[in-house]
Symmetry: C2
Subunit: 303 residues, 2 copies
């Protein structure tokens, strides 16, 4: 994607990246006729339902920022999207958020039933680890770098990471939530995976420890900003465009940034975080422009 | 565990191995007071509920069979038990088998609710991949061997492996099942993980390709035998001793070996498979005795 770095706008980096990822998903995902068909249809249904493909694009952009080869990290990037999709399928289940609509389509369990939806989520998480531990197509990256990135991702997803955030979010429903709890939910439920995508991209691109520290900071800020932006769009967004139930956070009594601080303060905070994230990339050359542009692009969506 | 190889019976290898694994589980599992507590309590509840710890013991025994260091593979072995526990928690959910009792205790969702049970299963699978990608404590094993073993395990657990078997099992309930479908369920739902434990143990012990082929054959036969034995014990076993609902396969109209072939023929088949599994280890020296003894011990339980 070297040509994307020269003069393309952030939207173009994102739209080109989206195509690249979607082509790779199609080449790596089990065929829908593979036995047993129901699970493969369910996996494909949610994974191919659209979305911005932000997380895999961040993996690629971070690899490129440190001078790595984006082609070699594509399987790992696709894994990040599978992980994101697994979390959506399980989050939507009746026992959790009980959502009927996702990306403009009925949720996985609405189409395939709860049992297959649970197993499809499990299978996507597992498929992600198949990809994050494979050497095929990633021969240019030494095994220890892949292993470390895989460990990084797994740790970010665990009970002291993303799942921890889901649990606290779940247990906070219908309660009045203080700032510290909201911070925890934001940091872990959404932030952990985004930060891990950026760190893993850097690690697979063989970043120096200084570069990795800067990417971590970028990842923390941008992950936080994204969650605030998501909360804002849940209130102000266009249901058709977002493809999910608007106001579902409110109706579920979810802890959100706007609920605690109001819309204006939330926008200000998101903008500040984006600025800080870009500042943390100060030592990087033009190859980090995609990361910078992605950061700027997302905060613009809230105005 | 070198002393276990000298004259101890299979039961002793299993009981010593169980203790070794349970100590390691306690040292590797997140503390129950770790925030958020509910998920860590749920993870510990099912993981510490007992069980034979057969899968991790098979990892260790396979490593020792090829002359590897069992100490170095302990984290990987614990991961195998976490994986087994995750499958039990998700299998027991109301949307799947809807079981109330497991290992003599109420199932995870009965105690913690469905949402936490789903997430506890997810977290145990994730924790397993944290352990299977870590280098700490496994420094004596080159990264590429760990990566390959991790890939092997992930593949065995996926939609074309264990989850595929779960799906076909689920979709066969209440239907008359032919021999080919039963074979598929056995091979994938139970066999894949057992075979992967043995292969991964071998891989981490740096088995030669000839040794690995033999271990694969051993794993296929023994995995198949174990499922038949489980089916038999579901009919003939002691509910208190097994700690689960006896006859639950029958009441769920599950496809089982005894249902299709009868008890006597099922016992004969299990015995034959155990003999074949032991024969496949012909080229191995005494260090494979634990594997041989485990195989013999399990088939004896059905008489």
């Amino acid at each position: 994607m070297v040509d994307l770095l020269n003069g393309f706008s952030s939207c173009q980096y994102l739209s080109e990246g989206k195509k690249l990822i979607e082509d790779k998903i199609l080449s790596l995902l089990p065929d829908e006729n593979a036995y047993p068909e129901s699970i493969h249809r369910a996996m494909r249904y949610s994974l191919l339902a659209g979305g911005k493909r932000l997380r895999p694009i961040l993996v690629i952009a971070a690899t490129e920022a440190v001078g790595g080869d984006h082609e070699a990290v594509l399987p790992f990037a696709v894994a990040a999207e599978m992980i994101h999709t697994y979390t959506l399928i399980h989050d939507d289940l009746p026992a959790l958020d009980n959502d009927d609509l996702r990306r403009g389509k009925p949720t996985n369990h609405k189409v395939f039933g709860e049992a297959i939806a649970i197993l499809a989520g499990d299978a996507l998480l597992t498929e992600a680890f198949i990809l994050m531990s494979r050497s095929k197509g990633m021969e240019s990256i030494p095994a220890e770098y892949i292993l470390n990135a895989s460990h990084e991702m797994a740790t970010a997803l665990g009970s002291k990471g993303m799942i921890g955030g889901q649990v606290v979010d779940l247990e906070s429903e219908g309660k009045s939530v203080d700032a510290a709890t909201l911070e925890y939910i934001h940091t872990y439920k959404t932030g952990c995976l985004i930060r891990a995508c950026i760190r893993c991209g850097g690690m697979l691109g063989q970043a120096s420890s200084q570069q990795l520290s800067a990417l971590s900071l970028f990842g923390s800020h941008i992950g936080h900003a994204f969650q605030i932006i998501d909360d804002i769009l849940d209130i102000t967004g266009d249901e058709k465009q977002l493809g999910k139930d608007i106001g579902s956070d409110l109706s579920n009594d979810k802890a959100t940034y706007p609920a605690l601080y109001g819309l204006e303060e939330s926008r200000r905070k998101a903008e500040e975080l984006v600025k800080e994230s870009i500042a943390s990339l100060e030592e990087f050359d033009d190859r980090a422009n995609p990361l910078r542009e992605i950061a700027r692009f997302f905060v613009q969506r809230t105005f």
